[in-house]
């Protein structure tokens, strides 16, 4: 049994099921992200764990204890909200101390813990400020400190970085992960930002239409997407329809170009996918399959240039590193691309 067990969890609003047979075990100290688009049920699942929504059926157990019997204020679960939700009438220190005061902790212990938490979030001198006197990033750090001050069993973060600008988001996600690892707290993090989920998580649950489509490490999710949705949602993929010529050796025909994947494939038609970084411009050692195509789009992204080439009916995306001494191919130019057949992913439904 895992530290946090979610079993057959379901939630319906009238006839609409927003979470369907959700199962997950989270180990103590693990950082798990719920990743998915808006309306996929990730926040609803999180809110059921917190106690703000009542499941239609299923069970939530923390350390073997049934959470559904407890009210939100009895669960000892810390929560960080997208909108920070700091109490505007209280100073930073009072906000951090709130949960401890509610629990009846003595003054000395409260002061000590508040100082410790403010130190942890890197704002030791801002205890006397009011929330409106802080930046968005600082407010979210205080919200994190407030949630952690009461030593919760589980920490829930509901899109905590969505309201912040890009640079702060990147630095704060590193800080959140560092604090989580330092304290070893079991964490569930809800986000629709794949980069956030990939960079921070021990495991990711990709959710789609109320279902956990795939649960795995960031490496597994990115490199071995289990469904077409996961493949499309996480990273950039080019989907290629292929005809299987020899199921045993995995020889396929992709728009007339033959390639051997070196693994067994089902008979008939299959959907294969390839990541942009798996395709090289020109010939490359180890990438034996070569195709020619015409450039249809060039996106300059800074260190990387993303290009798209028309190959038969398909448009194949691929990346090259920026080279200040060589211009990237122009739109309309003919190029040779190479890839390793073993890098082609077989996509399930």
């Amino acid at each position: 049994m895992a530290f946090l067990d979610i079993e057959h969890l379901e939630k319906s609003y009238g006839p609409t099921k927003v979470v369907k047979d959700f199962n997950l075990g989270v180990e103590k100290g693990e950082f798990v992200s719920f990743l998915g688009p808006s309306g996929c049920g990730k926040t609803t699942t999180l809110r059921m764990v917190a106690g703000f929504e009542t499941p239609s059926q299923g069970a939530i157990l923390i350390d073997g204890k049934d959470m559904l019997r407890l009210r939100p204020n009895q669960r000892n679960i810390g929560m960080v909200f997208q909108s920070y939700a700091l109490f505007p009438n209280l100073t930073v220190a009072q906000n951090v101390a709130f949960g401890l005061r509610v629990a009846g902790a003595d003054k000395g212990m409260v002061a000590e813990r508040v100082a410790e938490m403010l130190e942890t979030i890197g704002l030791p001198d801002l205890g006397n400020r009011y929330p409106f006197q802080l930046s968005g990033g600082q407010q979210q750090r205080v919200a994190l400190a407030r949630a952690l001050a009461v030593r919760p069993k589980v920490l829930l973060l509901d899109e905590p970085l969505s309201a912040l600008d890009a640079k702060i988001r990147v630095s704060l996600r590193g800080e959140i992960r560092a604090i989580q690892q330092k304290l070893g707290i079991t964490t569930i993090y809800v986000t629709h930002d794949q980069e956030e989920a990939l960079s921070m998580s021990d495991r990711i649950v990709v959710m789609h239409q109320g279902i956990a489509d795939q649960v795995g490490t960031p490496f597994e999710i990115y490199n071995r997407p289990a469904t077409r949705f996961v493949a499309n949602f996480v990273g950039t993929l080019t989907l290629l329809e292929a005809e299987v010529l020899d199921p045993a050796s995995g020889r396929v025909s992709i728009g007339g170009t033959e390639a051997t994947l070196g693994r067994a494939l089902p008979k008939g038609s299959v959907t294969l996918a390839v990541r942009p970084e798996m395709v090289s411009l020109g010939t490359a050692p180890g990438r034996e399959t070569e195709v020619t195509g015409r450039i249809v789009d060039v996106d300059f992204l800074g260190s990387v240039i993303r290009l798209r080439a028309q190959i038969g009916d398909a448009v194949l995306a691929f990346d090259t590193f920026n080279d200040s001494h060589a211009n990237p191919p122009k739109v309309g130019s003919e190029v040779t691309l190479s890839l390793a057949a073993r890098d082609l992913l077989l996509i399930g439904e």
């Binding site: 917190a50 106690g51 703000f52 009210r71 939100p72 204020n73 009895q74 000892n76 679960i77 810390g78 929560m79 909200f81 909108s83 939700a85 700091l86 109490f87 505007p88 009438n89 209280l90 709130f98 949960g99 509610v102 629990a103 009011y130 929330p131 409106f132 006197q133 919200a143 407030r146 949630a147 009461v150 829930l156």
Partner: protein, 260 residues
Amino acid sequence: MKRLFAWLMLAFGMAYFILPLVGLTEFSLSMRRGEYSFDAYRAVLADPRFRDTFSYSVVMALVTIAFGILLVVPTAYWVRLKLPGLRPYVEFVTLLPLVIPAIVIVFGYIRLYNTSSWLPLTGTTTGTNLLLMFGYATLSLPYMYRAVDTGLRTIDVATLTEAAQSLGAGWVTILARVILPNVLVAVLSGAFLTFAIVIGEFTLAALLNRPAFGPYLQLMGANRAYEPMALAVIAFGITWACMGLIQLVTRFSKHTKAAR
């Protein structure tokens, strides 16, 4: 030209409101023939009935405010948090005292709670005071509810509640330590309006036969010339002091500074 017209309109508006007050004040100071004096004010303040009725009304106003806060804040909070669909109906109910005259309310009270009824509140002084307090709370309900509801609109009630719950707070703690302090300015606005209403209210107090300031004002008005004017100026002064206090509280409320 447009600017001149605006100034003229402002001057007209101010004259419309200020001239009667100037006349009132001037008359209240004219008790002594041929010179201005505070004789009328002195006579009023020396009258033991003034002190008795005024202090009675002040106590009633404070009790009404406490009851109003206990009734309205949790109700408005709960409606906003859990029953948003009921908001139009609750608002309608809170507005009813504006269209139902006080005399109808008090006759209803007397009919329902007279000495031969199942709950004979009018049979004792405490019971009648209680009834009067309920009446005052009803009359001030539109102002108190609107003020609190407007205050609640300025904060994210649902998220703050959930944040407090996740930190272990129960409903009473949430209301007392999170919601109420954040709508304090709005609550105080409602409280000062309630105070102003209670101090000048006549119908309920007169028909329930309680020694309040409103009936005393009426009694003086019927029998004296200068003293009622002095009382009216005092009543205006109290109302303005209440309004000034609302401004003061708003200004000195630290955590709302960002919003301004």
